[in-house]
Amino acid sequence: MSFGVNGEEIMYEVRFHGRGGQGAVTAANTLADAAFREGKDVQAFPMFGVERRGAPVAAFTRIDEQPIDIKTQIYEPDVVVVLDISLLDVIDVTKGLKDDGKIILNSAKDPSEFDFDGAEVYTVDATTIAVDNGLGTETNPIVNTSILGAYSRVVGNVELESIFEAITDNVPVKIENNQQAAKDAYDNVKGV
């Protein structure tokens, strides 16, 4: 946590859940880079340790209007972003989520079909959006840029235009496709 001039907590903390190879770490880094371009202070980091392809991974982003001093990992995120819905059966994605926290799921279903003890749920069919934009395949879609478009719409503390710019520097290939995927997800996220 951080404290503003009036003692209020003002830092925003994000946790991404994915599987090794799906780009959760790139999503966290790209979001941080986008916010940094807007003059905010940022941190982004993976779950400290080892990663295996296909295994559940987490990655984190901190965003603050003030300089970020804190160096601990993130335990009570403001928003949780789930890149792979099959993780819901494996891990508790809401662990530590703040009471007024938000959850963004990569799912074609309606948010009303999910219940996370009252947390605000948003869904976006990032898999279809990614595949339609030529990013990966149905079985191995690259959804990390789509999901950032949804993040921008749902959370609103990072502009879509900044995410476009960050994609240019953080995504190695198909920059325009990734930007279009972010735009499509921004336009089609459900629950807003």
Partner: protein, 398 residues
């Protein structure tokens, strides 16, 4: 002055970019978690033609440091990176680099030593090398990682110093974490750091000379005394160089940096990335009216006793927070600070806290706890244990 470029980069990238701006000639390196990105990036810079240097792939860290020594003896500007077991394997060569008075810079991703095997943040690897004759700097964040690399070359190569320097960046907390960093322009770093020319000759087949020769009992001690004089002399050089760096690049560095220390009764002393979290704790405690301050130690070797004692003048209690331990004794910062106060009549109560070993988190509440324990020792005169362990998982100890 050229414009500094703002970007978001990992700690390893920050030290690599800092090193690249210093135009090293030779980079012998052996990869090890969490420093691997450093040699990867340096070899990319060389392969892409962005850096004109020889990258030497070696079979171990011992060989990496041996190659550093050989290259530096020819007058080359040399850098490398390592961590944990790698620094331990270099141990005997570290003494040879400093004994031969060869400036070079090593970025260390500070990581715990085995056993049990652990890849996470801890200062034991470099602290175990505190007697090797290298200067040691520790970064709080990625910006400091980059800046300290540039300062390290300039200080180590100063004719009054001629010693190698380690720059520590905490494993994962910095090495793998992306933060915003301002990167100086190449032409400005070129102005700040002129090309290196060894003042006392170099390894050159055209002018044969012996380096690192036999030091018999008639000579050895004087060599060591001269080496110690050099590291003592580096104190003024560090101040001068830090000041010049601030004038050119706008970022302030000190051997020891105080935060809210002017009216403080209790002061926490930290090294490395934990400093940021400690600053959060101090902000919180100050809001509650507690007279607490913080000192960030950036330079651990030479140990800045005069600066620390000046900042701590009038302070009642000091919480010295070590992310290392000398088993059977104390943490390293505590031992050095206690020694600095031995013959002083007026001195604060010192308490030694060990925490954060092997990647154990150090939370804001842990710093509050260390403040309270130190305050209690001051108020009651009951000093507690000689070494206090903080954020202990009691279930594991049972």
């Amino acid at each position: 002055m050229g414009e500094q470029k703002s970007m978001t980069i990992k700690g390893n990238m920050a030290t690599a970019m800092g090193a690249k701006l210093c135009r090293p000639n030779v980079i012998p390196a052996y990869p090890i978690t969490p420093s691997t990105l450093f040699p990867e990036k340096m070899s990319e810079f060389v392969a892409d033609g962005e850096l004109d240097a020889s990258m030497i792939n070696v079979e171990s860290e011992h060989s990496a440091m041996s190659a550093c020594i050989g290259a530096a003896a020819t007058g080359a500007r040399v850098c490398t990176a390592s961590a944990s077991q790698g620094v331990a394997l270099m141990h005997e060569m570290l003494f040879i680099a400093s004994g031969m008075r060869l400036p070079m810079v090593m970025a260390v991703g500070n990581r715990a030593l085995s056993a049990p095997i652990n890849i996470w943040c801890d200062h034991q690897d470099t602290v175990a090398s505190k007697d090797s004759g290298w200067l040691q700097f520790y970064a709080e964040n990625n910006q400091e990682g980059l800046d300290l690399m540039i300062n390290a070359f300039r200080i180590g190569e100063d004719k009054r110093v001629l010693l190698p320097v380690m720059v520590g960046i905490d494993a994962f907390v910095l090495t793998h974490t992306i933060e915003g960093v301002d990167v100086p322009a190449q032409e400005d770093v070129d102005d700040f750091l002129p090309p290196y020319e060894p003042p006392h000759g170099k390894l050159d087949p055209k002018e044969p000379a012996t380096f690192g020769s036999f030091g018999t009992p008639e000579y050895y001690q004087e060599f060591k005394q001269a080496q110690v004089e050099a590291i003592e002399g580096s104190r003024d050089v560090i101040d001068e160089v830090f000041e010049e760096y601030e004038e050119m690049f706008g970022r302030e560095y000190n051997k020891a940096t105080p935060y809210y220390c002017d009216d403080a009764e209790i002061v926490l002393i930290t090294m490395g990335s934990m400093t940021g979290t400690a600053r959060e704790a101090v902000k919180k405690l100050r809001k509650e009216g507690k007279k607490v301050g913080l000192i960030k130690l950036t330079v651990f070797r030479p140990f800045p006793s005069p600066e620390l004692k000046e900042i701590l003048s009038g302070v009642k209690g000091v919480a010295v927070i070590d992310r290392n331990i000398s088993p059977g004794a104390y943490g390293a910062m505590y031992s050095d600070l206690a020694a600095a106060y031995t013959n002083e009549k007026e001195k604060p109560i010192l308490k030694n806290f060990i925490t954060g070993l092997g990647g154990r988190e150090i939370f804001v509440k842990n710093f509050e706890e260390m403040y309270e324990m130190t305050k209690k020792a001051v108020d009651t005169g009951n000093l507690g244990k000689p070494v206090e362990w903080i954020n202990v998982n009691e279930d594991v100890l049972r």
